[in-house]
């Protein structure tokens, strides 16, 4: 079961509207299939009204579609029940929600939160903000010499003081895959909870939160071929039940008086105000699209492209691939000798090759690797070997431009 990028590319209008575009920045945000774009427009045209409020039938229909989207996400993650799915703006808000509502309630001075050197800023800064209020300690598990997570070192750092292990599933800056299945038992053995940042993993791996046995899993819709402004926080039901609200407002209450407010149960308790209804519906359509292509096929495709890219870059003189440990997926971060990543990205852009250059919101990892910045190519289902050839050829043109 392999997928055909040339056929899938026709599902994405951006390519017809930008002939010649070589898009290698899906790790920042993926492009959107027509099914998502049109589905959102159709929802506004035919079924839109506010949710959870109206007694009229149109509102009931909109509410049903919104809740079906939640069920769709639950199925995508293999959650035990739909109420374990909280819609948020994105993974960033998901982590901030956990930090505020769970961390703010259950963490105290003397506790430890264990992060890794691979993390995106969004899985670092929320914990620092909370630490500054509460006074717990942030401990950081290192990477090994190959750029992968040092699992043995991580194991040694987990203790009875550790209350949370917060780790990426797939490092956005380098493409290093993290063995969550191995970390979950280590965390749980010491009574710690496990939060997984699944932004890069969700578009590339088949996910099963029950098999992973994580306590929290977050991802963003816009990186998995869905719209911007919507994301998902999964958390085990018992944990959500014990968490106080994140924000206060409409829809998250059972009864309000000026003396006392009774809150809803999860997930409504965590979705104050009118939610991103069309975003949730667009995300569900994106997940339909992804499952239609097949997650097995997508993983295989990403693995083939990654392998091809690693070989292709290895044959480019003066170009070095930044290490990603034993397992790399979907992301190639490179350094070209004598060319700053921003110059390289501009030189590639002039040849219609769109890549990301910079610190990839992972400054501590860049610092650890001794790099100010890298140039990053990342793949989606619409990419093929020719895109990687174009990337490699464009780098060679850039090298010629700089060495003339």
């Amino acid at each position: 079961m392999t997928l055909d990028p040339a056929t899938l590319r026709r599902d994405f209008p951006i390519f017809a509207n930008n002939p010649g575009l070589v898009f290698l920045d899906s790790a920042a945000s993926s492009q959107k299939p027509a099914a998502v774009i049109d589905g959102i427009a159709n929802f506004y045209r035919t079924d839109y009204a506010n949710v959870h409020r109206g007694v009229y039938r149109l509102s009931a229909r909109s509410t049903e579609l919104y809740e079906q989207a939640r069920a769709r996400v639950a199925r995508f993650l293999n959650a035990r029940q739909e109420s374990e799915i909280v819609f948020v703006r994105g993974a960033t808000e998901g982590i901030n929600l956990v930090a505020y509502a769970w961390g703010g309630t259950f963490l105290k001075e003397g506790d430890e939160v264990l992060l890794t050197e691979l993390e995106h800023h969004s899985n670092i800064v929320p914990w620092q903000l909370l630490r500054d209020r509460i006074g717990f300690k942030i401990v950081v598990a290192p990477i090994d010499a190959t750029g992968g997570l040092d699992l043995a070192a991580l194991e040694k750092l987990i203790s009875l003081r550790t209350k949370l292990v917060a780790v990426t599933h797939l490092a956005n800056a380098t493409g290093a895959l993290v063995p969550i299945e191995a970390i979950a038992p280590l965390a749980h053995a010491k009574g710690a909870k496990l939060l997984v940042d699944g932004c890069q993993a969700a578009p590339r791996l088949a996910l099963d939160v029950q098999a992973l046995d994580c306590d929290f899993y977050v991802f963003s819709g816009h990186k998995i071929y869905g719209p911007t402004g919507i994301g998902v926080l999964y958390a085990k039901k018992a944990i959500l039940d014990a968490m106080p609200p994140f924000q206060g407002g409409g829809d998250m209450i059972l009864n309000v008086t000026f003396e006392k407010t009774i809150y809803q149960g999860p997930p409504a308790r965590f979705e104050a105000g009118t939610p991103d209804i069309s975003g949730a519906i667009g995300l569900a359509l994106a997940l339909d699209y992804v499952d239609g292509v097949g997650r097995g096929a997508i993983l295989e495709h990403e693995e083939i492209l990654t392998g091809y890219g690693v070989d292709r870059i290895a044959r480019l003189p003066g170009v070095r691939l930044v290490g990603a440990g034993q397992q790399r997926l979907g992301i190639l971060s490179v350094e070209a000798e004598g060319i700053h990543p921003h110059d390289l990205a501009t030189l590639l852009d002039a040849q219609q090759v769109a890549v990301r250059a910079g610190h990839h919101c992972a400054q501590p990892l860049m610092e650890r690797l001794g790099l100010g910045a890298t140039t990053r190519a990342s793949f989606g289902i619409y990419n093929d070997e020719r895109d990687i050839d174009a990337f490699a050829a464009a780098i060679q043109v850039a090298q010629k431009t700089f060495k003339r």
Binding site: I339, H340, H342, T401
Partner: protein, 154 residues
């Protein structure tokens, strides 16, 4: 766009072999420039003697555009007054942001023309800040004096 328009020989030369790339021991003014988006950093040192810029230098790391811009700036600003430097920056800033509404007095025309190769960034909006970083740091240095300051591109 032709890549050579943006990366002209003069830019590659100054980017790879920046002039006045050192700390200034007798600096009367200095400031740090930081572009948080790409991590480029530059420190600009100025030795002001009355109303004359006796010497100016820089240190830092960054892309070819930011290094070349800083290098060319230090060459041009030596011997100028702060008012002349300001006029040159205003005209340069206008050009790299795609406007052309700030001219310089005839006496500064040659210097303004030396900055011309950098104005290719105007078709790459994300790169304009690379070209102006050192100038912003220079401006901040004159304002802050010997205590130093840090200016960030917005």
């Amino acid at each position: 766009m032709d890549l050579r328009e943006l990366y002209q020989d003069i830019i590659l030369d100054h980017g790879q072999h920046p002039r006045n790339f050192h700390k200034l021991d007798h600096a009367t003014h200095f400031a740090n420039g930081h572009n948080p988006l790409c991590g480029d950093r530059v420190t600009v040192y100025v030795e002001l003697d009355g109303d004359k810029i006796r010497d100016v230098s820089f240190e830092g790391r960054g892309c070819a555009i930011s290094q070349a811009s800083a290098s060319l700036m230090t060459e041009i600003l030596k011997g100028k007054t702060p008012a002349e430097a300001d006029a040159l920056f205003k005209s340069f800033h206008a050009k790299v942001t795609g406007r052309d509404d700030a001219s310089v007095p005839p006496a500064l025309q040659d210097d303004a023309e030396r900055l011309e190769p950098l104005t290719g960034v105007k078709t790459y909006p994300a790169r304009v800040k690379c070209a102006t970083l050192a100038w912003h740091a220079f401006e901040a240095a004159l304002k802050s004096g010997a205590t130093g300051a840090t200016v960030k591109t917005e």
